[in-house]
Symmetry: D2
Subunit: 420 residues, 4 copies
């Protein structure tokens, strides 16, 4: 998957592609049918093990077209699968999807897609934590002038600046690591009524029905949950966590954009982009593209919140539908910006000499506060005026160690291929 | 082009597809090269008439991948075209793109894509004006209860309600009809320096350079303009006009969603969508999908404004890049919602009988104000209490007539196919 | 009115203050009562000429508290006024507000407040047009290096950069100058039914009712209009125009923030702000505060669009209520940022020497494109490479002249004091 | 504090009022001065115990005006306090604020104000948890028709609907309860250099400096932290948690608005608001005002994210300044909407009879799915078709119990009055 309007989009591969969503929806239907048969709700004759085989890539476009009349892609998929089953597996055709509603299929499939995106974002954050912690260590004593409201302030170190970047990334990591991706199984209106009815001949129909939801969650690597058709915190949390990531990355990108201006020259991207007309230029392209993402994601996050707030009834008319593409775009952009940031940070060139020169040139001003303080305290005041720069590294570096001690999250790929 | 995450997306066809952008960029390079040769800036040997032939659909994905290193799709395209020309048209390879910068190519191509979208949106608005004016006429005396803050208020007519919808659509039409789509030609930093340098051997190099920009505009059906690399009102106006459209349509959709609730039943969509599990249901799918769009576009419009406001320098690092996909998504969604609204309005079923029943049932309350007024004025107060409902139709109906008297805007298609 | 959380807020004076809204609401009630009596709908005994005298500043807080139970401030005001009239003007107490609904009073009062804000914004834009046109003229030949994607590009002039700022301001001016501020008179559900009922004893009750709305518009300096209770383009246009202003100003502020960095030093604010701890610092405070506004207004504009899109019924439950404070904040911030921008531009210090030095130091790079072009064209290529910088000034300067030839808009103050 | 543009605003009392911010800033300066003296950094003669006495309410407006030239309110406050101290406590005047930067004072004061708002929001959520859990219990067997995409679906219970509301509130509670409010102490550029310099005569100047920050945190009831001048997760988390609250409340409000339509009549607000012209109306005013808030907060939250993402340097020029008023408005609106929701839920009238009637009337449709399922399963299918409605209550009710077992959070009031 590529996007000429969003250079770098290919880094997100087929995350949330139409094919990935379709595959995830088929996996949901497959596991549900398996479970209906497995628990004895449906007869053994309703089994059908290869729904995947009924869907080809060519169906994606057809399904997208068909989705409009039902308002979502699940209904057309169910028709397609039933048509495919009717001949060879007439009982499977009858039992397919029974107990589910289209929102169950779409929401659960979205969570499957989100799971992989979240795993990749978490890995990127973890790698950034490693790189930034290293950079902060390396430059814990590299002095530079601090800049506040664009003007030279007192001395600082590049290590401390990096520690600030690291803190943002750690905050994002904590939030991403805490995300929960629940299964959605509620039936037509979140009551599981159809499944309970279908299980009427079994000892405990209600427990059977809730057990089925649990089974689906397990099969897909999702978290069990009561239905959340119109309680959308799951979606807004995914959104907020993604935006918190791009906040952290955007702030890094903005610093690189500033500090790599030719007049400043304290940082440079590993390899800059060229120009279509000016041969000498080395543009800070990664920073530019990361900042680009950070300018767009807060509004996408806001859209998810609005959809949550304007939810109504037992399944909503519009707000729910606004979420899918918004979540897709938000998570793909986050994955892309995450990998770009890792690359940016990993290859960043730090010009300690330019930092030292600027600081020396700015000494008169940068030390003015020091002189005031020395006057006040009656001390000579001749040091580097680096304050607690080293001590302030400790807390973020300790947090970084904690993150790096976490196991690497397994990259979930509960795609069609895995369906038994 | 279809989108499983945005049912109905296929209505926008290939507007702003990767292929459409590529075709438009090639058209820009072709017309510019033609003009360089035509004005005598470049030698006749630099002519090459079939750049289109150098690009195949298979290149789109390659270009999208390549675009990341330069930060935008124009640079990679220029490489591709030069590579294709080098053998047979070495002079054309040397002269291609000279005088332009990548932003010239991308912005102008975006305007070409926008031109077609705007034409389609305008046609949809015009058709809605026709339909709504007809509906208002038909129902100018169809009484119903007005609802304010969700509760029954005084009587009104369905015609007047429709006139309110019409006013929103007319306001959007005015704004869309006033949109201007300028060409972008400024060279590396908006000074046209390269073109002026290349024209140094001609009598008036500056006038020659600005004349070239004019020629490009004419060739593409765009408006001549000074460079607008970091003055982005063009983009925000496109955004605001699109959002104003979805505002108008969202308000219609919200009314249909309310009035087609089974307890109210005064309106119904022509054909509702079905349910994946409940055989009887006829969901108001078009209204749902239109409302969906209206919940997302204001935030996309805000992103365009932020990009404008955070612009800096002579070409910006990030804000510009944030615009392309945002504008694409915003305009496609507007085209889709526009056609859905036309269909919704065109097939709307109006249940005047239910309106009359509700009004009768609510008479006690709906006439309470009338009784107060009659008391105050000392009049008998027995009429239908429809006030100025008919008179208030006149202004919007007159505006509608004005719009319908406008010529139908030609659907611009300055796509590759047209390049001679 | 001041705001410790928004330094500079006092520049907006009492625009949209609680007192200003109250005064405007009282003016609406006064003019409406006058008109009821004047047209003979109400008896002469219903006249009361000094509603203003019934409201003291101390009532504002009381009214704000009372407004919650009715959901808007008009209902409590009507009670207050009726109580005040009951004793001395019992007939006026009975006739007051008859024919209006609370939304009529609030919307019309908001338009009155907006009128003054718009006039001030327009004056600020006009003054900026004057200042920027002058600056562009003065520096039409002041060379500097252009910067694209933060890096040095080809030469440009400061005059041309200013012309880009000017274009943004002119675009905003056009939109602000075209704003229309309509009166809102519809009665309970936009049908004017109550007024028509009250005028039943007059020859043409409908015409009398619509004439009353016209009279109110004239009295308040607003534009006549059919009711727009749920067609909210008026509000979104005000919002979009305001955001377009802060877009233009934010872009100027961003350039000043960059170019006044100590390493660049090509621009400086007239007087910078100090620091609470560093004696030497001169912070670019005006640019900072203007950029602050530009980061917040697009989202406020989006809220107004959402309110428009989610409108439903004949008066909406929530969307309308979300507009008032949003519009207030948006317009006050625009007025404040406008005056700050005028001050910023008026006192801007331009360091042509630093511009020249930077350009000279960057010559090798900045002229690389020129060399390529000269090679290609076979010309010597030794000029200043300023391209069409002078010619490109003409169009914006001509537009500026057009604006300055406009009459200065009268500052509308249809406040209580003016009510006869 | 009241706001005529935001009815109900008075519920937030003086939270984040100008006076509250001023009081909190004075408390910061007082505790810092105390700590400077207490640790022996400053001489005993620098002590001054009553900074509060130097500031009167009348100063607020003066300070707001003065704040513009420095860009923030802390600088003017320091001047004011120094002027007040100069005469009687000349040493205190010299030592006041030493080691701090204005951002330390403003950010810490904002956290003090936020602490109180967060405590109130948490209390409101807790009370709602209690009320909603009770309502869910009471109505665990109250049948009603579920509505999906506005149309009648299968039966559900009002208890389960309430459980959905409760889940949203519980999710918000979890996030609010986890909020951390850190102190901000970094000095001019986040290095603590001034404090370290001032402590040069003490054994461990760095530890002394960081200890001082700890002391300030303790004194104000905030969490110790390294400086976070440009790592703004604290602010965005506050924002996101607030928006998650209004999401949950907006969804409740939307359900009440729908279900209290006269044609549906299944719910009603305890006491509705009246109408300025229609005597019979009982508008759902609380729901309207809560929904109003929920339509505006997502965009305010987005602004906080943008400010975080566009941060740069060691203290930023504009993004930081955009946060204060945004956070103030967001938190006040959340407090107001929270109390309105508590009131709404506490007094909600549930018309079980209307629910039963609607369900009976809709039986044909509402039971269609049941018949399909019974056919499929070969069962008689005659039950109430309420599925797992009761079982699905258990998880949210258990979560509710957990929340109610939490201690009631102490309402922090670290206002000036508490400063010893």
């Amino acid at each position: 998957m590529t996007d000429l309007f969003w250079p770098g989009d290919q880094r997100a591969g087929d995350l949330f592609s139409d094919e990935a969503l379709l595959a995830a929806m088929v996996a949901v239907e497959q596991l549900w049918l398996d479970a209906l048969v497995g628990t004895g709700i449906a007869p053994a004759s309703a089994a059908a093990s290869d729904l995947r085989g009924l869907v080809s890539p060519g169906h994606t476009e057809w399904l997208a077209n068909e989705s409009e009349s039902g308002g979502n892609p699940a209904m057309a998929l169910v028709s397609l699968l039933r048509d495919g089953l009717r001949e060879g597996h007439p009982e499977a055709a009858r039992w397919l999807h029974r107990g589910l509603t289209s929102q169950d299929v779409v929401d659960t499939a979205l969570m499957v897609c989100a799971g992989e995106a979240v795993a990749r974002i978490r890995l990127a954050l973890r790698e950034q934590v490693r790189l930034l912690a290293g950079l902060a260590e390396t430059h814990r004593a590299t002095p530079m002038v601090a800049r506040t409201l664009t003007q030279h302030a007192v001395p600082t170190t590049f290590g401390l600046k990096v520690a600030g970047w690291l803190t943002g990334v750690l905050d994002a990591y904590d939030e991403v690591a805490a995300l929960v991706l629940p299964v959605q199984v509620g039936g037509a209106a979140g009551t599981l009524a159809a499944t309970v009815e279908l299980a009427a001949h079994l000892p405990d129909p209600v427990r059977t029905a809730t057990g089925l939801a649990l089974e689906l969650a397990t099969g897909l690597g999702l978290t069990p949950s009561t239905p959340w058709h119109t309680s959308r915190s799951t979606i807004t949390r995914l959104g907020d966590a993604s935006v918190r990531c791009t906040d952290a990355w955007g702030r890094i990108a903005n610093d690189v954009l500033t500090l790599s201006r030719p007049e400043i020259g304290e940082l440079a991207e590993g390899t800059g982009g060229g120009s279509s007309t000016m041969p000498h230029k080395a543009n800070p392209v990664l920073s530019t593209l990361v900042r680009r993402a950070a300018l767009t994601t807060p509004q996408l996050g806001a859209t998810l919140h609005l959809a949550a707030a304007e939810s109504a009834d037992d399944r909503s008319a519009g707000p729910w539908h606004a979420e899918w593409a918004t979540l897709r775009t938000l998570l793909r952009r986050t994955v892309v910006a995450g990998e770009q940031t890792t690359e940016l940070v990993g290859a960043l060139r730090v010009h300690g000499d330019r930092m030292a020169e600027t600081l020396a040139a700015a000494a008169e001003d940068a030390r003015a506060e020091q002189r005031s303080m020395a006057d006040l305290a009656g001390t000579p005041g001749g040091g580097a005026y680096l304050g607690a720069t080293e001590a302030l590294l400790e807390a973020p570096l300790a947090r970084a160690e904690g993150v790096l001690a976490d196991g690497v999250p397994a990259l979930r790929r509960p795609h069609l291929e895995e369906t038994p």
